[in-house]
C-alpha cells in the first residue's frame, strides 16, 4: 500500500491531477475498501502550494518545479496552479497561510506608483 501511495505521489504533481485521479476512482466505481479510503485520505492530506503564474506550464516544467519543491522542502508538495495573464511573469505564491507576490505585474505597479509619486518615468 505504501508503495502504491509512493508511486501515485510520484505521478501526481498538481491538485488538478489529484482531483482527476480521485474522480477517476469514483467514476470507475472501484470498491472502496479501507485501504482505498486511507489512500484518499493520505492523498488529500498532502501539503499544497498555490502558484499563480502567467503561462501554461508544460510537463517538463511541472516536473522540475515539483522535484525542486520536494528537494527543498523534504516532502511531496502538490501544486495548486492558477493561470493568470495579469501576473505578467514570475509567480504569486501561497504556502501554509503565507502569501508572497513575486510577479512582474507587482514590480511594474511599484515602478509606476514610484514614478507617479515623484513625477518621473
Amino acid at each position: 500500500m505504501e508503495k502504491v501511495f509512493e508511486d501515485l505521489v510520484k505521478k501526481i504533481r498538481t491538485k488538478e491531477e489529484l482531483i482527476f485521479f480521485l474522480e477517476e476512482i469514483g467514476q470507475k466505481k472501484i470498491e472502496k475498501d479501507e485501504k482505498i479510503s486511507e489512500l484518499e485520505k493520505k492523498l488529500w492530506s498532502l501539503p499544497e502550494i498555490r502558484l499563480e503564474i502567467a503561462f501554461s506550464p508544460d510537463d517538463d516544467f511541472l516536473n522540475r518545479v515539483s522535484q525542486w519543491l520536494e528537494k527543498e522542502l523534504g516532502k511531496k508538495i502538490i501544486l495548486d496552479l492558477t493561470i493568470n495573464p495579469r501576473v505578467v511573469a514570475g509567480a504569486i505564491i501561497e504556502y501554509q497561510g503565507n502569501w508572497r507576490d513575486f510577479s512582474l505585474a507587482k514590480k511594474i505597479d511599484k515602478l509606476i506608483s514610484e514614478k507617479t509619486l515623484y513625477g518621473k518615468f
Binding site: 527543498e72 511573469a89 505564491i93 510577479s103 518615468f121
Partner: protein, 237 residues
C-alpha cells in the same frame, strides 16, 4: 410847551406857599387867643386870691378890633409882598427862559453846524473807513485766495499721495492675488499633470503587462517562476 409846564409849577409852588402862610397866620391867631384865655384864667386865679385886675368890655372889644386890624394889615402886606415876589420870580424866570431860548437857538445853530460838520467828517470817515475796509477786504481776499491756493495744492499733493498709496496698495493686492492665483493654477496644473501622469502610467503599466506577458518567452517565464520560488524559499518555506 416846556415853558408852560415851568410856569404851572411856579404857580403851584406859589399857591402852596400862600396856603402855608395863611395856615401859619391862623395858627398864630389861635395861639394868641389861647394866651389871652390863659391870662383870663390867671385873672380868675388872681381874683380868687384877691389879686384880680379888671378889664372893661369896651377895652376888650377895641383890643380885639385892633388885633384883627393888625392881622388883616399883616395879611395884606404879606399878600402884596407875596404877589410882588411871585411876579418878580416869574419875570426872572421868563427872562431866563427867553435868554435860555436864545441860548438854545444858538446851541441848536451851533449844534446844526456841528452836525453838518460832523456829518461831513462822518461821511469822510465813512468813506475812508469804507476804502480802508475795501482795501483790507481786498488784501484779506487775496490772502485767503493765496491760502486757499496753498491748501488746494496741499490737498492735491495729499490726494496724489493718497491715490499713489491706494494705487500702490491695489497694485500690491492685485500682484498678491495674481501670485496666489498663479500658485493655485500651478498647483492645479501639477495635480492635473499628476492625475494625467498617473493615468498614463496606469495605461503604460497595463500595456507593459500585456505586452511583456506576451513578449516574454516560455523559458524566461519558467526562469522567473523558479526565481520566485527561490525567493519564497527564503521567506516562507
Amino acid at each position: 410847551m416846556d415853558f408852560n409846564l415851568i410856569e404851572q409849577n411856579i404857580f403851584f409852588i406859589g399857591f402852596f406857599a400862600l396856603a402855608a402862610l395863611v395856615v401859619w397866620v391862623c395858627l398864630d391867631i389861635f395861639r394868641l387867643l389861647r394866651k389871652e384865655k390863659k391870662e383870663y384864667s390867671l385873672q380868675k386865679y388872681f381874683a380868687a386870691n384877691e389879686l384880680f385886675l379888671r378889664i372893661s368890655e369896651d377895652f376888650k372889644k377895641q383890643l380885639e378890633k385892633l388885633i384883627g386890624k393888625e392881622i388883616e394889615k399883616n395879611i395884606g402886606e404879606f399878600k402884596n409882598e407875596f404877589q410882588k415876589t411871585s411876579e418878580e420870580i416869574i419875570k426872572s424866570y421868563k427872562s431866563q427862559f427867553e435868554s435860555g431860548n436864545q441860548e438854545i437857538q444858538r446851541v441848536l445853530s451851533e449844534f446844526s453846524q456841528q452836525i453838518t460838520k460832523e456829518t461831513s467828517n462822518l461821511s469822510k470817515f465813512t468813506l475812508d473807513t469804507q476804502n480802508k475796509i475795501s482795501e483790507e477786504a481786498k488784501n484779506k481776499i487775496l490772502e485767503l485766495n493765496q491760502a486757499a491756493e496753498k491748501e488746494f495744492i496741499k490737498i492735491q499733493e495729499t490726494n496724489l499721495k493718497v491715490s499713489t498709496q491706494i494705487s500702490q496698495s491695489i497694485r500690491e493686492t492685485l500682484t498678491k492675488k495674481v501670485q496666489e492665483i498663479e500658485k493655485e493654477i500651478d498647483n492645479y496644473k501639477k495635480e492635473r499633470f499628476k492625475e494625467i501622469d498617473r493615468k498614463i502610467y496606469q495605461m503604460l503599466g497595463e500595456v507593459a503587462k500585456k505586452t511583456l506577458g506576451k513578449a516574454i518567452d516560455l523559458s524566461t517565464h519558467e526562469k522567473l517562476v523558479i526565481e520566485a520560488l527561490e525567493k519564497a524559499k527564503k521567506e516562507i518555506f
